[in-house]
């Protein structure tokens, strides 16, 4: 790995205060006689996680017709893998919760990331992809590399923004010009070091070049399209001042009609507030600097 890239990502913890919950969940899952109540008990040990899960489970994000009262109910209708994905997403938000507002409006940054996650999930559902929650996580993490830059290389971020201001260029082009690599490469390297699943890693790595993602073209295309849509809607800011170019082959790859776009936008509008509340209301613990 490029030494500068390695230096940037070295030592960033992966799971924050959720590491214990995730390890215990895995241990319960590995046990052949585990029940949903056992899984619920593990999650309920963390009141913050419980509150997030029930808030999301009872929101328009899932749209279940009946109210979920317990974590075990939530796990049974949302699905174990999906719950793990949501915990993973919460943990990353927590790890980077301490970044100051001097470089970028972080509330706006997270709004963009969460909206991209909602959009990618909606598009995945429209494509009838199984386990759509993983696309929420992929969308949420697509600009993970920028979080690394904000927290580990603030001076270079200032240079990158200055270069963008002085010339008409995309932020990722300026990143390559200053660093030799862009935020997608940083996000990919960090997620690989965290041993995240290959579909998530590749969706993040190729979200600007989805047709180069090999067997993960569809995953990358869904994140690419959601990112384009959210930039166009001006929903939050990633740091990029332009709506980035759209790869039309990505649209062909997902095989949806353009008429779906309006309902995806409506879903993002409807869900963003509750998702922001569920993910960004992070307690002051395990903050990474």
């Amino acid at each position: 790995m490029n030494p500068a890239l390695n230096h940037l990502i070295n030592g960033i913890p992966s799971l924050g205060s959720y590491a214990r919950a995730i390890a215990e969940l895995q241990s319960v899952l590995d046990h052949p006689h585990s029940t949903l109540a056992d899984l619920g008990n593990v999650i309920e040990k963390d009141p913050d996680l419980t509150a997030r899960l029930l808030k999301l489970g009872n929101s328009s994000f899932f749209g279940f017709p009946n109210r979920l009262e317990t974590v075990a109910e939530a796990v049974s209708v949302i699905g174990i893998q999906q719950v793990q994905d949501l915990i993973l997403a919460s943990s990353v938000v927590e790890v980077f919760a301490g970044i100051g507002a001097d470089l970028a409006d972080m509330e706006s940054f997270w709004k963009h990331s969460l909206a991209c996650g909602i959009g990618a999930r909606c598009l995945a559902i429209a494509c009838q992809m199984p386990k759509a929650e993983k696309f929420f996580v992929a969308g949420l993490l697509h600009d993970l590399g920028r979080l690394v830059l904000f927290s580990r290389a603030p001076n270079q971020v200032v240079e990158i923004f200055r270069l963008c201001q002085s010339r008409k260029m995309l932020l990722r082009e300026a990143e390559v010009s200053i660093l030799g690599f862009d935020h997608a490469t940083i996000g990919e390297a960090l997620m690989r070091s965290w041993q995240y699943p290959a579909n998530l890693v590749n969706a993040v790595a190729y979200h600007h070049h989805p047709m180069s993602a090999g067997v993960y073209q569809l995953e990358s295309s869904l994140v690419h399209l959601a990112d384009y849509l959210v930039h166009a809607m001006q929903m939050g800011r990633s740091g990029e001042r332009f709506v980035p170019p759209l790869n039309e082959k990505a649209w062909e790859r997902v095989g949806l009609a353009t008429s779906i776009l309006e309902s995806v936008i409506r879903s993002i509008d409807e869900q963003i507030e509750i998702v922001q509340e569920a993910f960004l209301n992070v307690p002051e613990k395990a903050v990474h600097r």
Binding site: G63, V243, I265
Partner: protein
């Protein structure tokens, strides 16, 4: 009114037939990615006017120029870009109207 039960991929009943559609139901449909259901019109309906038609031409032109400047590619670069641009323009026009209601 919904005329046929609406179910998700797992056959879970989301909206029963006979139900009058509300905003909550629309949210449920969006959340499950259901693009079409069978309905029957009932009562009076009030179509909301197209926000693009309600804006003065000069305001619409200014909005269009502002949005075009925000896109790296021209809005008409392809059918998807065009559709997204139109949706975003309509969204911005609605926001402008909400901020500054026009006098009749």
């Amino acid at each position: 009114m919904v005329t046929v039960d609406v179910r998700n991929l797992d056959n879970m009943l989301l909206i029963p037939a006979g139900c009058e559609l509300s905003d909550r139901h629309i949210n449920i449909l969006s959340a499950w990615g259901i693009a079409e259901i069978q309905v029957e019109a009932c009562g009076d309906s009030e179509d909301s006017a197209d926000p693009l038609q309600q804006l003065p031409p000069e305001t619409l032109e200014q909005l269009t120029l502002e949005l075009q400047a925000a896109f790296w590619e021209p809005a008409g670069a392809g059918p998807v870009q065009q559709e997204v641009f139109n949706l975003v323009l309509r969204r911005r026009a609605k926001q402008v109207l909400e901020q500054q209601p026009l006098r009749p």
